[in-house]
């Protein structure tokens, strides 16, 4: 099963403070360990929310709100995508992660829905219809 491990933002990450050399090295080693074990599939760090935007939906209305966003601790600062056999294994791997921020970090582990979890239904049929339309246009 696959899990997304979400790194929560902190005051520092939102301020764009770059990680120290020491943390970079430690994080690099940790990632290497994950890759060597065939566990890590993907991972990225995100820039501060000041450089981002939100789109809010209200019925048919869409409102764009520019960053930064206030609720720092709920924001996402990066993620891993890992593949392991159980949540317990995901937890044991991520406990080995160096503290991602100097000012109190938090990781959240969430299981990924796999496509085969969805029963083929209307949604999948729509994708197929779009494909057929594209075929006709050719």
């Amino acid at each position: 099963m696959r899990f997304m491990v979400i790194v929560k933002a902190t005051k520092d990450s939102e301020a764009g403070v770059m990680p120290s050399e020491e943390l970079l090295v430690a994080m690099g080693k940790f990632n290497e360990e994950l890759v060597k074990a065939g566990v890590m599939l993907d991972g990225m760090g995100l820039q501060p929310s000041a450089k981002g935007a939100r789109i809010k939906f209200d019925g048919d209305k869409r409102t764009v709100v520019d960053g930064p966003f206030a609720e720092t601790k709920e924001l996402v600062a990066g993620f891993w995508l890992i593949q392991v056999k159980s949540l317990a294994e995901a937890i044991e791997w991520m406990k080995r992660c160096p503290n991602p921020h100097n000012d109190g970090g938090e990781l959240e582990i969430r299981q990924v829905y796999e496509l085969e979890d969805f029963a083929p239904g209307e949604g999948i049929r729509i994708h197929e219809k779009v494909r057929d339309e594209l075929k006709k246009q050719k």
Binding site: V35, K36, A37, G38, V39, L41, D42, L81, Q83, K85, S86, A88, E89, I91, E92, W93, E114, L115, E116, P120, I124, H127, E128, V130, R131, L134, K135, K138
Partner: protein, 419 residues
């Protein structure tokens, strides 16, 4: 002990287990003994850790404990077995110097893991034994899980593993990574085992047998580990690329009623983009390794290239059939086979039209190797149908249906015959 605690320790052990076995086997020169000692150390952890807390370096703790167990056994039973003695000496040397958990685990654990992989896939063992032993020692699957995945009785698998370990001990197989001329053949055997595990899981489209999916994931994980351990080997990257790309279509290749969906008819929106990206990156690495060693692409890399041609096409009509026909040509040169020729004919038919394809297929009609191959009439039927020769097409599909043993394949063929 709380269930959560047991779960956490078990998860930790499953992370450490392959490394433990790999290192212990180097010292004990026996994978069976190594596996038992690893298990003993796990049981010790289940007893100790709930009281004392999980140590800072659980892997080193488990390793040290396993070595102590070996020494105990040696002292208690006065075992003549040199294996235990060797472990004991190793430990006594460590105890003579100030205990340092860091030094308990070797830095070159990677080499031990490689040794373990090569040993589990040793040619002295039967193919079945290699698969079972690899899944048990490196995948950490229980005999029961392996048995369910392969749909055979549990005692059969258990026996297979016991016999395999015995054979390795009796024949005194050296615990080492082969080198020189031996390496390429031994590596091919390892890749074969991994791909066999993958295909065993991938081939089953019917039902919800999660153990089968587990086989695919386990093969992928082993491949990813091996790709890190043997970075210079092009075919290792070729195999992992092939598996990642095939896996990217896992969800799309089965329809609403569990029926197989052919590649060209699959909903490409359901292909896993992450796995495609990883597969394409692995192809790049394989090519770089080929250049470095001045080697031509091998069979896994070529097959991965085929899968990549499909992965790169956003619509079925965008498929680069010229490239596919060329790759089949290269595969045919590497290992000539009428089946590859048949596939090349299909690609050329897609490229140059059904008439050209039909001519190549007709030329293959008398190949003895294709005599009972249901895809030969299936391909002929498909080409004939495209040419509007429906009566002839129907006969070919019916012939194909009669030739296949697989029920779902037969259903697909009969359905086409009715069209």
């Amino acid at each position: 002990m709380a269930a959560g605690q047991h779960r956490a320790i078990s998860a930790l052990f499953s992370i450490e287990r392959p490394k433990l076995i790999a290192s212990l086997a180097r010292i004990a020169r026996d994978v069976g003994v190594a596996e038992e000692l690893a298990q003993d150390s796990f049981e010790a952890a289940l007893e100790e850790w709930p009281k004392s807390g999980v140590p800072d370096k659980p892997g080193a703790w488990l390793m040290l404990t396993a070595k102590r167990k070996a020494l105990d056994a040696h002292r208690r039973k006065q075992m003549a077995a040199a294996k235990y003695d060797e472990l004991g000496r190793d430990l006594r040397e460590e105890e003579a110097t100030p205990p340092d958990l860091d030094s308990v685990l070797d830095d070159d654990i990677g080499d031990d893991l490689l040794r373990l992989i090569f040993t589990a896939c040793h040619p002295v063992l039967s193919q079945e034994a290699r698969v079972a032993l690899t899944l048990r020692l490196l995948g950490g699957l229980t005999t029961d899980e392996i048995a369910r995945a392969f749909i055979v009785p549990e005692p059969t698998i258990a026996q297979r593993i016991v016999r395999a370990k015995k054979t390795l001990a009796e024949k005194q197989i050296a615990y080492e990574v082969p080198h020189g001329e031996e390496l390429s053949g031994r590596l091919a055997a390892v890749l074969e085992v991994i791909y066999l595990i993958f295909n065993e899981g991938y081939a089953a489209t019917s039902g919800k047998n999660w153990m089968r999916l587990e086989l695919c994931n386990e093969a992928l994980r082993l491949g990813r580990v091996l790709a890190e351990l043997a970075k210079d080997e092009p075919e290792v990257h070729g195999l992992i690329a092939l598996m990642e790309l095939q896996m990217s279509r896992f969800a799309a290749r089965v329809g609403t009623n569990g029926e197989p969906v052919l590649l060209m008819d699959q909903n490409r929106a359901r292909w896993d983009r992450l796995l495609i990206r990883r597969g394409l990156a692995a192809i790049e690495r394989a090519h770089e390794a080929c250049v470095k060693l001045n080697r031509l692409p091998g069979s896994y890399l070529l097959q991965a290239e085929l899968a990549a041609c499909h992965a790169r096409a956003n619509k079925a009509e965008d498929t680069d059939w010229a490239k596919i026909a060329g790759i089949y040509g290269a595969l045919g040169t590497l290992s000539p086979s009428p089946v590859i020729e048949l596939n090349r004919a299909v690609a050329l038919g897609m490229l140059m039209g059904p008439q050209a394809g039909l001519e190549i297929v007709n030329a293959l009609a008398n190949e003895p190797a294709l005599k009972n191959y249901y895809l030969l009439p299936a391909v002929r039927g498909d080409l004939l149908a495209k040419l509007g020769r429906h009566d002839e097409a129907r006969k070919e599909f019916e012939r194909a249906a009669a030739m296949t043993q697989n029920e779902q394949e037969r259903a697909v063929m009969l359905k086409r015959a009715q069209r």
